[in-house]
Symmetry: C2
Subunit: 308 residues, 2 copies
């Protein structure tokens, strides 16, 4: 799957993943009205509205980017009805040829990690048939519990040729509270980065490992350091755009081969029509605004990744 991701990045010249993190407040009125009319002004209606919104965005951007990253929390907040729309979004995105990265940030130990890995990347066998739960291509994972927590995920990745992005340095302001603490003079995130590189060796694609890392765009100097510590690790970079990360800072996250990173934008793409820059589209054409925002992001990133 990491090889497929790289191939698509190269074909499309777009190391970009679109974060499908919908909020009800992003959904244009015409879709809210249609959903409430069809399903009622209730949980089913609200989650239908989110589905229609996602579908519009996927239809507008599927030929421009290799991957989408739905944030499961945005669906989980609606309980079972929300999880159904998470699933429907994953299925539709895959059907359109997109790679799906489930931003689930799961993490536990032993048989519990195996169960998460099974539900999101693997399969259960019942009688003589296999069944797949959510069936993402990649998921994000939290490393706080150590190797016992990560290796069961790695085992399932090996069986399924799927991958992980493990949190190393997150993009938020308080990420340093624990992640930046110095251990023998070196920050915790470096220690985690080293472990990610080691775990990654257990599960290599042709150039890069199936086991990737999350490093926020908001800390470019740290990105530079971690790029060296994890030479064969693909980095998922959140924090571009809305969170303040700039394209010129992103060059540190790429290797000299022009690869090694994929940059996420969520709100900046999916709610583009709410920005002054794209407001001329109007909310009815929200998906066209998202398409234009992807094209603009591609252009913006070009300096960062093509001319290393």
């Amino acid at each position: 799957m990491i090889n497929k991701l790289i191939k698509r990045i190269e074909e499309l010249e777009a190391p970009i993943v679109v974060g499908l993190d919908p909020m009800l407040s992003y959904v244009p009125k015409h879709l809210m009205d249609r959903a409430y009319q069809d399903k009622g002004e209730n949980l089913e209606g609200a989650t239908e509205a989110i589905w229609l919104y996602n579908k519009g965005i996927i239809d507008a951007i599927y030929d421009l980017v290799p991957a989408v990253k739905p944030q499961v929390a945005m669906y989980e907040q609606f309980g079972i009805e929300g999880m159904k729309v998470y699933m429907k979004t994953l299925e539709y995105a895959k059907m359109k040829g997109l790679i799906v990265i489930g931003d689930v940030k799961r993490g536990d130990i032993g048989s519990t990690s195996t169960a998460y890995a099974t539900g999101h990347l693997g399969k259960v066998t019942i009688g003589d048939k296999d069944y797949r739960g959510f069936d993402e291509d990649f998921i994000t994972v939290n490393p706080y519990l150590g190797s016992d927590g990560i290796l069961p995920f790695v085992d399932v990745c090996k069986q399924e040729n799927k991958g992980l992005f493990i949190l190393v340095k997150t993009s938020n302001p308080s990420s340093g509270e624990f992640q930046d603490q110095l251990i023998n003079g070196r920050p915790l995130y470096e220690l985690v980065g080293e472990k990610v590189a080691q775990w990654g060796e257990l599960c290599m694609g042709s150039q890069y490992s199936y086991i990737g890392a999350v490093v926020g765009a908001t800390y470019p100097e740290i990105g530079k350091e971690l790029r060296k510590i994890m030479p064969n690790t693909f980095i998922l970079v959140p924090g571009y755009g809305a969170q303040g990360g700039k394209a010129e800072d992103l060059k540190h996250y790429f290797n000299k081969d022009g690869l090694g990173a994929i940059v996420n934008s969520s709100r900046g793409i999916i709610a583009a029509y709410k920005q002054a820059k794209y407001e001329s589209y109007g909310e009815a054409a929200y998906a066209d605004a998202s398409r234009q925002a992807v094209l603009d992001m591609k252009e913006d990133l070009k300096n960062a990744w093509q001319h290393l």
Copy 2:
């Protein structure tokens, strides 16, 4: 909710939570047969079997313990069908008067943490009605992302009078890889423990905070230290029994008031009938074996918590 938990612990003289972490291999044949006959040998049948199994255990133990802790991964592995049974288990346990601790180990930042908190502890408003997603009383949360990740959960806890158990020191062998690393001579878990105590002050019940901690039974000396660092924090203690934690070690986790900790047992209770000690029950009476295992655990813990 922390006050209610403490009241029930005192009434039942049982600082015990039963972990509902079902595996298909635990489900007795008569329940598997019934479920497959009713729903087919497929995902629906397998998750029905887990539901019947859970229901039997809840019916057998609800009058002995204050709380149950379903591990969501064990349900999530079956996708949407599994999540439905997670939900059904939560609802049934609450109906029987049990407090439910969702072992979900979620954690993200900002609006994403808010979304998780909404789905598990809070509500969404659609039109003029409120809807609740999974609606647990407490959930477990991962602290790796720092305050930005935790405070949105704390806000929802305040609104809803619900609570958290934040991972501080987990019970697994490799938990030390990151959690034990020394920062200015002190392990990371102490730093996390201090933060948990601070976050806890934002959301106090009468004696203890709504914001609790997870500290594994397998590291009693660490439990002793963390007990001092977090005097008003309730500690959820995994790792008793099957993972090797012993009752005599648990006294360190309690305060002099005989409170301050609740000890989890999962496999040791729910799959008791598979142990030599309880095999005379046979698999048909698996729930009776679970009831006896709870009574035995209560007795075993008495020395730890009643005579401090």
